[in-house]
């Protein structure tokens, strides 16, 4: 009797995975209908799309199609999480590996001008299988350690492709090759801007947040002022600071020597610092306000001084919330630092805006892709850190 009931419910539900249907549709379109790689005679002309079998030698092309088809079948059917993960991962590794082969295959060896870049089909396939990985990961619900391990694996895969020169034929890396020195200089400047302003905002924001927590009157004023700063668009704030900083540079002795200038890094740094203050201060206030009264009373009962209570009780309890504020700032700053390029502050934005100016999209990608990777890495690392620090029962995002 019981067996009969189970059979009946089995018959009623479809054997297909709902998300798998979407992933399969995307992958079929990406593999069979959309172009895999774009070939262009030089850097800025319109390209022509090449399908997988045109872009790759037959053995590799059919191999990739077989792997993609296998991934599609695994996604469609209700398979175990680990099988889905393995199939998606295999497809992603193959895609990453073979897009490099496409470049070598499409460009004649002596042609230095022709460009090959990944086309829509490649991106759609990557998106479809990344979705499959993300779904499998969500179902596994891994702890912070395992998540960091996955991140390290993904970064190692990309790093390996770059280090072994697999992708050297792709046009984004040709852009890189012709400006490798500036790339690392701008990368350094980008990180200095994002991390430096975060450090400054933390050093000033924490005491300010503690002060706001203690003094009611100050809280509303400070938070309102910081909120008002957030409404000023970034390019305007960067620009507005040019004036006062230029004035300081020329009128305050010694200011210019330490790098204060009207244009360049200084206004960008100050603008990012100002944007960073709100999340740090606001989360410090929220975190301290959330400290249970019982904990404070107990500490007082033990005869702790104000200072001891702050350091030993309140601050550790509020720390996960403060860390959540720092995560917001870091991800936001990595993105906003791109705008510094508009006022001569450097960073990856230099390539983005140069690329927009020259309508050279590979150059735009050279600036945008590292920014996205950095922001993404920062978010995963800090999320894991927040989870390790936070109370065991509250999984997910704080604040």
């Amino acid at each position: 009797m019981a067996i009969g009931v189970i059979r009946e419910t089995e018959r009623r539900t479809l054997p297909f995975d709902k998300l798998g249907v979407i992933i399969a549709a995307l992958a079929v379109y990406g593999a069979f209908l959309a172009p895999f790689a774009t070939f262009r005679a030089n850097r800025i002309v319109q390209g022509e799309g090449k399908a997988i079998l045109e872009a790759l030698p037959p053995s590799l092309g059919y191999g990739l199609l077989a792997l993609v088809t296998f991934g599609i079948v695994v996604a469609l059917l209700k398979t175990s999480v680990l099988v889905r993960m393995a199939a998606a991962f295999a497809a992603l590794v193959a895609l990453c590996f073979l897009i490099g082969s496409a470049a070598g295959n499409l460009v004649p060896a002596d042609n230095a001008y022709a460009r090959v870049s990944p086309a829509s089909g490649f991106w759609i396939l990557v998106f479809a299988f990344a979705l499959l990985v993300a779904d499998a990961l969500t179902r596994l619900n891994p702890g912070p350690g395992l998540r960091l391990l996955f991140l390290a694996g993904a970064l190692a895969l990309v790093g390996g492709m770059l280090a072994t020169g697999r992708w050297d034929g792709l046009s984004i890396l040709k852009e890189y090759a012709s400006r490798a020195d500036t790339f690392w200089a701008e990368a350094g400047r980008h990180l200095t801007l994002a991390l430096g302003s975060l450090a400054a905002a933390t050093v000033l924001g924490l005491p300010l947040g503690i002060l706001c927590h203690r003094v009611d009157r100050l809280r509303a004023t400070v938070l309102n002022a910081l909120n008002a700063i957030q409404t000023i668009p970034s390019i305007a704030l960067f620009g507005i600071l040019i004036g006062p900083l230029g004035w300081i540079a020329t009128h305050v002795p010694g200011a210019e020597a330490i790098g204060v200038r009207g244009i360049g890094v200084a206004p960008a740094f100050v603008a990012l610092f100002l944007y960073s203050l709100l999340p740090v201060v606001a989360n410090t206030v929220v975190g301290l306000a959330g400290v249970p009264r019982a904990a404070n009373d107990a500490a007082r009962g033990l005869g702790m001084t104000e200072w001891q209570r702050l350091v030993a009780v309140e601050f550790p309890l509020a720390f996960p919330v403060i860390l959540a504020g720092i995560r917001i700032v870091l991800v936001q700053n990595i993105g906003l630092a791109t705008i510094a390029a508009l006022i001569g502050g450097g960073g990856f934005g230099v390539f983005v805006f140069q690329g927009i100016g020259q309508t050279a999209m590979d150059l735009v990608l050279l600036g945008a892709v590292p920014t996205v990777v950095l922001a993404f890495t920062a978010a995963i690392v800090l999320d894991a850190l927040i989870e390790v620090m936070g109370p065991k029962h509250s999984r997910g995002k704080a604040a």
């Binding site: 709902k18 909120n227 668009p233 305007a236 004036g243 993105g335 983005v352 945008a368």
Partner: protein, 245 residues
Amino acid sequence: MASLPTLLRLAVFLVLLAFLLQPGWFEPLLKSLVQENAPAVYNRGSLFWLTLLHLRTVFVATFAATFIAVSLAILVTREAGAEFLPLSRSLVNIGQTFPPVAVLALSVPIFGFGEKPTLIALFLYGLLPIFENALTGLTTLPPAVTEAARGAGMTERQRLVQIELPLALPVILTGIRLSVVISLATATIGSTVAAKTLGEVIIAGLQSNNLAFVLQGGLIVAALAVLIHDALQALERALSGRTRT
């Protein structure tokens, strides 16, 4: 943000309106910021017109984002779409790490220069806060209310339209407010890819080293953001007050 007192808000609105319609009145104020022969008030187009275009861009993007985000949130909170709920949550978290400039820059190769990439970037970026809040609103309804609605014999559709959406509305509105404020500022970046927004004024100022242009472009956007933020917040309060009683 605590609302500014009503009087102050009205003053900001009047000054903004006066500046947009009669920018000449403010010339003496701005004159000190520029070099002798440089114009103190933006002279390459009407500020009022640019403001309207700016607002239109933000409105179109937010409207589309709201429609899609709320529909998706409804879909994944129904029984048929429940499978997608955890995944959509993690996708939202991932999406929010994408810098707006990168979204804008990456949509240029697909959609070309002009207003389109800006609309796409604002739309994609606006989706996330609205979707997240709509999810929160629809998944944290008091169980007693939904049970009562079921007990009263309401169909699933009736429950959604008459109970769940009205109760979730204030939280959804908070998401829309967040999204609008971000979009108002982000739209200025669209002018780097030739979209007609107030960013044009700021960029013209940066290029010709004219601080007055940068300041007026920035302050108009900031004033718009503060006013729209406060108006939406007042609306939320009115709505949550109504549903609570």
